[in-house]
């Protein structure tokens, strides 16, 4: 029997317990080697983050599907969208926002709640500005007479940016919630806030990477 099947692949962790329970002793015999494992319900962070990673896996496939459709459909054609220069600026906004969010996370770990609150505010603001920047890019294209149905490359431009933008919007809602919470967070909710923040940061960085991928695809493929 290879060891890989014997040992748990991953640490166990979970969400808050639906039931208050006292930790149970190791009274039911010994199966060797699992003493370190928690045997009840423990802290949320790991479990929630695991789910976030899975969600990111799923979203990767979503964008991979759009991208491969782009490659198949637009690849053989010569027409491309001339990308509005504001996209460079937007990319910078999103990257900066990711950076600030990471900083905020660090502050929250150190217990600096005021600093976290401030940084969260900036990160959310930059996220919002990114969305407005994307809208400005749409308007710039529309002003040139390039619309959704103009040609395949433009169709994909709007679809990819819209799909990405909607996901950014979702992230913004989470960030906004965290921002409001961080203003009046007490010790009891701090842990929950940190878990949400951690997941949102992960998601936010992921969206940053997806944006860079979309940008590369649109600019150079």
């Amino acid at each position: 029997m290879p060891d890989t099947l014997q040992r748990p692949l991953l640490r166990r962790g979970s969400l808050p317990p639906p039931i208050n329970r006292t930790p149970s002793g190791n009274g039911r015999g010994d199966d060797g080697g699992h003493d370190d494992a928690p045997h009840g319900m423990t802290q949320p962070a790991f479990g929630a983050q695991f789910g976030m990673w899975l969600l990111l896996g799923s979203l990767t496939i979503l964008f991979a599907a759009f991208s491969s459709a782009y490659i198949v459909r637009v690849g053989p054609l010569t027409e491309r969208v001339s990308l509005p220069p504001i996209l460079w600026f937007n990319t910078l906004l999103l990257a900066l926002s990711s950076l600030l969010l990471q900083q905020a996370l660090g502050r929250s770990r150190r217990g600096d709640r005021a600093g976290m609150h401030r940084l969260l505010g900036f990160a959310s603001l930059l996220g919002l500005l990114f969305l407005f920047g994307q809208l400005a890019a749409w308007r710039a294209l529309a002003a040139e007479g390039v619309f959704l149905q103009t040609h395949p490359a433009s169709s994909f431009f709007y679809v990819l940016t819209a799909a990405h933008g909607l996901h950014v919007l979702g992230g913004l809602i989470a960030l906004g919630w965290a921002f409001l919470q961080s203003a009046r967070s007490s010790e009891s909710t701090a842990l929950r806030l940190q878990a949400v923040l951690q997941n949102t940061a992960l998601y936010w960085h992921f969206l940053g990477l997806i944006w860079i991928w979309i940008f590369l695809l649109l600019a150079w493929f």
Binding site: R11, G32, A65, A69
Partner: protein, 607 residues
């Protein structure tokens, strides 16, 4: 202890609404999924009767049906456009809203937490949301029957341009839009469910429940959930693009076409692109339907053979191999689609390779029966029925996976026979095996075994009566998705006789399902109370009361000491040892096979 028990009940939701309707308890959600998907399956079954009536007795007027289904019938005769709506909706409802929903939503919710020894899913709120979003998708897809033009009529594969151009077919109006929207909603729901199943199976295993001790049901559901997470988003993307083609004038899939003399000014769209996106989901979807059934069947066979599942490790590896390969075989649905023939060769290799792990699993099931002490419970009968239909339907896949032979057989009744037997009946037999096996655990009452046996025999014999003769129609090259067959000289008169016999068998099998429905409802209300472990199983769920209370386990989580299949261990007092029983040194002699220890109590041998 009394103090802790009081605490156990502290957090149990008390109002009817939070307890049974907006419940976050995985068992209630499992029941909600099972009831909803059984209803959807029943609707799909009725649709198949309507099709079979037309195919068995072509254009024979039945005035009653005009009254029952005024939208579908005219003067008692099924309208041709209704027939297309029926095939589309029958397929969609069965594949997604019945089979996928009941296996992942129903059995996944019920079994994963119970069998890994968790109190609930990792994210109970997301779990609840997943069900309600699923229910919404059910409502949307059912609503499509009642809109102008009727339900979608482009087949469950929704190939554009038929599904992309409103003029192409009557169902390509609002019905097709609702179909696409319902699918998108369904995908959101299944992603939410999938996150839960994977996280719970991996992270919420109780103490001692190593991966090598997981029952095969959990393995199968885990791998299936991963498949779902990675496959469904492709169709979501496809649905979005197709909706844009339909309404906003883009040309992702629809090229410049002239439908009925009217110019539809798209530009250069690629219909094959949709087929690739659809089947990138569609083929893993086939395994999403069959893998959990395989897990259920492994569990039921082992329990009722009173014998460890044969080759546990290889079974796990085969599940993983099938799951991996299922992502790179989608092109075998497209051999004659105009796809590059060299690409076809690659897909052919992967497709036929997938038969190897499938064969391993089949032989392992038979080997589990070998020298067993078989108990023919209804669940066991259905599990054996599964092995039979899986062999029969799997073998015909070897014809269709081989592109030269596929040329002749694809889009004929041979394909209909193939996928109905292997994927349709395979999943359905797995579902029934699971329902008869775990109904006592979920509802706390026993199903009638006597009715169950009637149900099994009528279904098993009847199903072969329906689908085996379809191979003959396939040999005769009778094309599928035809409303009628008059006027074709290459179809001999025998074909109509076969169609008639198939229709009769289909109506009998349909009636047998009513028997099940009666059994289900009657036993739910009046069935005898179920003991905690009616089948003398080893896995954790049988250590909880039937039905398990909120939180499943009382004050202490179970601790696992051995693998899931300690049946008929030589020297043990009973012919099963639950996973929670600590290891004792067991006599080593009289072990069958070459007795290589595997699973949990391998270390018992070392002592």
């Amino acid at each position: 202890m009394a103090h802790e028990t009081a605490q156990t009940h502290l957090h149990e939701p008390r109002s009817f609404w939070t307890r049974y309707i907006f419940s976050q308890d995985h068992k209630i959600i499992a029941a909600q999924y099972i009831l909803t998907s059984l209803f959807m399956g029943f609707v799909a079954l009725v649709l198949s009767w309507l099709m079979r009536l037309q195919l068995g007795w072509p254009e024979h007027p039945i005035p009653l049906l005009s009254k029952l289904f005024p939208g579908l019938y005219q003067d008692g005769v099924l309208k041709p456009e209704s027939y297309l709506a029926l095939i589309t909706m029958h397929g969609t409802l069965m594949v997604f809203f019945f089979i996928t929903a009941i296996l992942l939503g129903g059995f996944g919710n019920l079994l994963i937490p119970l069998q890994v020894g968790a109190r609930d899913m990792a994210y109970p709120f997301v779990n609840m949301l997943s069900y309600w979003v699923f229910l919404l998708s059910c409502i949307v897809i059912l609503a499509s029957f009642f809109v102008t033009g009727g339900a979608a009529a482009a087949g469950w594969t929704a190939y554009p341009p038929l599904s992309g151009v409103q003029k192409a077919v009557p169902g390509s109006g609002l019905g097709q839009d609702l179909w696409l929207i319902a699918m998108a909603i369904f995908i959101v729901s299944s992603v939410m469910g999938g996150l839960n199943y994977v996280t719970t199976a991996l992270n919420m295993r109780t103490r001692g429940m190593s991966m090598g001790r997981l029952p095969l049901t959990v393995w199968a559901l885990l791998i299936t959930a991963i498949l779902g997470l990675l496959a469904f988003p492709a169709l979501f993307a496809g649905a979005v693009l197709l909706l844009l083609d339909r309404h906003l004038g883009t040309s992702f899939f629809v090229p410049y076409v002239v439908v009925g003399g009217e110019h539809i000014p798209h530009e250069g769209g690629n219909p094959l692109l949709w087929q690739h996106l659809f089947w990138f989901l569609g083929h893993p979807e086939v395994y999403i339907a069959i893998l959990p059934a395989m897990g259920i069947v492994s569990e039921v066979i082992s329990t009722n053979a009173r014998k460890p599942i044969f080759g546990y490790r290889v079974m796990v590896l085969s599940i993983c191999a099938i799951a991996f390969l299922s992502f790179i075989v989608w092109g075998h649905h497209m051999f004659i689609s105009g796809m590059n023939p060299y690409l076809g060769t690659a897909f052919m290799v992967t497709t036929l390779l997938i038969a190897v792990p499938s064969a391993i699993k089949t032989f392992n099931w038979v080997a589990t029966l070998w020298r067993g002490n078989l108990r023919f419970t209804t669940a066991m009968l259905f599990a054996i029925g599964f092995v039979s239909v899986f062999v029969t339907g799997g073998l015909t896949g070897i014809f269709l996976g081989n592109p030269p032979v596929d040329i002749q057989l694809t889009d004929t009744y041979f394909v209909v026979a193939h996928f109905h037997i292997v994927m349709g009946m395979g999943s359905v037999f797995g579902i029934f095996a699971g329902l008869y096996h775990w109904f006592p655990k979920l509802f706390g009452r026993m199903l009638s075994e006597r009715l169950g046996r009637w149900h099994f025999w009528l279904t098993f014999v009847g199903v072969y009566g329906i689908f085996f003769p379809m191979h003959y129609l396939g040999f005769l090259n009778v094309p599928r998705r035809y409303y009628g067959f008059s006027g074709y000289d290459f179809i001999p008169p025998d074909a109509q006789t076969i169609q008639l016999l198939i229709s009769i068998a289909a109506l009998i099998v349909g009636a047998a399902q009513l028997l099940f429905l009666y059994n289900f409802i009657h036993s739910w209300i009046r069935g005898p109370k179920a003991p905690a472990n009616p089948w003398q199983g080893t896995t954790l769920e049988w250590q909880a009361p039937s039905p398990p209370p909120h939180g499943n386990w009382g004050p202490e989580l179970p601790v696992v000491h051995r693998w899931a299949y300690d049946y008929s261990v030589p020297g043990a007092p009973e012919d099963y040892i639950p996973q929670t029983v600590p290891l004792e040194p067991v006599p080593v002699e009289d072990r069958g096979g070459d007795g290589v220890g595997s699973g949990g109590n391998g270390n018992a041998l070392d002592r």
